[in-house]
């Protein structure tokens, strides 16, 4: 789960991590007023769920309130396209207006989970404000990594080693130690998968400031944080993906015309692979969960059909213990409810396969049953010919 930069900064601030003075604006008049409040010279930052905003024209330094208002007018409602958004871009509905800061040095700092050690890992680099993956690729020696032992937590001396490695000295170094310790506390207490400050800066006046921040909360820990669902900006998400989320379905919109419903992420990916191999283009990735239930199958079906790009549907359910006649009933009910006339190919495996197939073939739907994965992919591609 992602949140906006301004929300991330509010959390950092609550953990004693200094951030620039700023205001969130919902209209261009508010942008103007906020700019006045900051004393004229300020940075206008579009709030979208993606990085790379600067190059896409979503960030601008302005000097007078009129200029701020004008840029606000230009930004609101605009779709920003960055390397992380996809070609359709993301709409700007909130703008962060921040005091301009004179920067002396920029760093990168983050805490995230390291799969290899099964521990949280602190990542720091003196190359801040740039694409950190690029730095990791080109000059890995500039990246400092440290896996944190959950028994001891992050210790001050460990944070100090990192601060020194960044080249900080004196009181700024000690400020940085405290900041790193606070960031770790924040990461744990807020159940983050990623907390990232990029750049962390030292101002010309010698203060540390988190200039940009990104949080990704651990979706599995939302039950411990009742406030999280309210922090989501649904305007930043695909409506079909939101709907899928409500029913605990993993849905990702793709570019093709074959709607897909599969149980299990691995099998779902393999199904996309096999469709492409047979010359088809999937319209979506949809995982109804390993143990597909009738209700989930029905909801998934509706979501696929709401996507107007889908011209046919391929269902691949390896139910195993789940009974195929029940899955078939779910498909028939959902297809009936949304009056589906699209061609459907169903590949099911599990108990009562024959009963399930018979139900489908007798249902009056435009449906074919496949014997296996390859057969199913070949059939749907042919039907859409």
């Amino acid at each position: 789960m992602n949140i906006h930069e301004y929300q991330a900064k509010e959390i950092l601030n609550a953990y004693g991590i200094p951030v620039p003075r700023g205001r969130v604006a919902l209209t261009s008049d508010q942008v103007e007023r906020a700019c006045k409040e900051m004393g004229g010279r300020c940075v206008i930052k579009a709030q979208i769920y993606a990085g790379g905003r600067g190059k896409a024209g979503g960030v601008k330094l302005v000097h007078v309130p009129e200029q701020a208002q004008e840029f606000g007018k230009e930004l609101f409602g605009k779709r920003l396209v960055t390397p992380q958004t996809g070609p359709e871009g993301l709409k700007v509905r909130r703008i962060l207006v921040e005091e301009a800061v004179d920067i002396a040095r920029e760093f990168y700092l983050s805490i995230t989970l390291d799969r290899e050690t099964s521990r949280y890992c602190l990542i720091a680099s003196a190359e801040g404000g740039v694409d950190i993956e690029e730095v990791a690729r080109k000059s890995p020696e500039k990246i400092h990594l440290f896996a944190i032992d959950p028994y001891t937590g992050l210790r001050p001396y460990q944070a100090r080693k990192i601060a020194l490695a960044l080249g900080l000295t004196g009181s700024v170094c000690e400020d940085c130690v405290e900041l790193i310790l606070n960031l770790y506390r924040c990461c744990l207490e807020k159940d983050c998968q990623l907390v990232e400050i990029n750049p962390l800066v030292v101002t010309k006046a010698g203060w540390l400031l988190a200039m940009d921040a990104k949080f990704t909360f651990d979706d599995n820990a939302v039950f411990r944080h009742r406030e999280y669902p309210d922090m989501v900006d649904y305007s930043q998400l695909d409506p079909l993906e939101i709907n899928a989320g409500k029913y605990d379905l993993a849905y990702i919109k793709l570019k093709g015309n074959i709607g897909c419903m599969v149980n299990g992420a691995g099998l779902a990916m393999a199904t996309l692979d096999v469709l492409k191999e047979f010359g088809g283009e999937p319209a979506n990735f949809l995982d109804v969960g390993g143990g597909a239930t009738r209700e989930k199958v029905a909801e998934a079906f509706k979501i696929i059909l709401e996507d107007c790009d889908a011209k046919g549907v391929f269902v691949n359910i390896f139910g195993g213990i789940m009974r195929c006649d029940i899955i078939a009933q779910g498909i028939i009910e959902a297809a009936g409810e949304v009056k589906c006339i699209l061609p459907i190919v169903v590949r099911m495996d599990g108990s009562k396969v024959e009963e399930g197939k018979k139900l489908l073939l007798d249902s009056g739907l435009n449906v074919q049953c496949a014997d296996n994965l390859g057969d199913g992919a070949a059939r749907i591609v042919k039907m859409l010919g």
């Binding site: 799969r115 521990r119 959950p150 996309l272 692979d273 096999v274 390993g290 195993g320």
Partner: protein, 292 residues
Amino acid sequence: MSILINKDSKILVQGITGRSGLFHTQQCRDYGSKIVAGVTPGRGGIHIEGIPVFNTVAEAVHYTHATVSMIFVPPPAAADAILEACDAGLDLAVCITEGIPIRDMVLARRYQEESRTRLVGPNCPGVITPGECKVGIMPGYIHRKGKIGVVSRSGTLTYEAVKQLTDSGLGQSTGVGIGGDPIIGMKFIDVLQLFNEDPDTEGVFMIGEIGGGAEEEAAFWIRDNMKKPVAAFIAGVTAPPGKRMGHAGAIITGGKGKAEDKIRTLEECGVTVATSPTRMGEAMLTALGGKG
């Protein structure tokens, strides 16, 4: 022979009184697994389906000498259940639960690493030794007793692979679903090592996915240590990039995670990689023919 579990394994079920816990307990018992105890805090003393229920794992072990736990405890308490299984000194804990918070798993994994207990999962289908014992949620009927070890990060894709193996006349010695979570107990290499030493396993089929660097690690280990033929499939060749992998996450693994890179590395290390998910059984036959 087999790895991890066999017909004599005594199994306890943590979370036996829950809906899916009970359902799968029955399924496993019907398959032939020896379920000797259940554990649900506060329900100790009752019997469910004729199986005695205890308040703690230690108590269940004391009275039944169980050595394997199957965990169905809901996410908020699941990491605690793993810790309890390790603390009771079991040989193996298989955690089926999906959705355990990262922070909880970091701690549970740290404790488990220093214990004598092996952990499979979480968020996995479990372990099966066909014809003998099933500790998990996979359908038993697709399996057949035989000589191929199966190890997988995936759930239902494993069923697809196993079905293809069985249809190709290749039975399985043991199937291990290690789970797809970022933090898991046994990794590919841990399982491959056991298959390598198991006299009744003649080849291994491995199922991987995009993300992380586990498949590459396994590939290098296979090149340097594996005495038996290995075939593999990697799902996600055509998956759109970057949906799940955070920026910083990709750094740690050195930018690894793409299917093409994994496939190339596996092939370079002598693994036969199935070019399509429809040809997994074929790939295993090829691998056996080549080295057998």
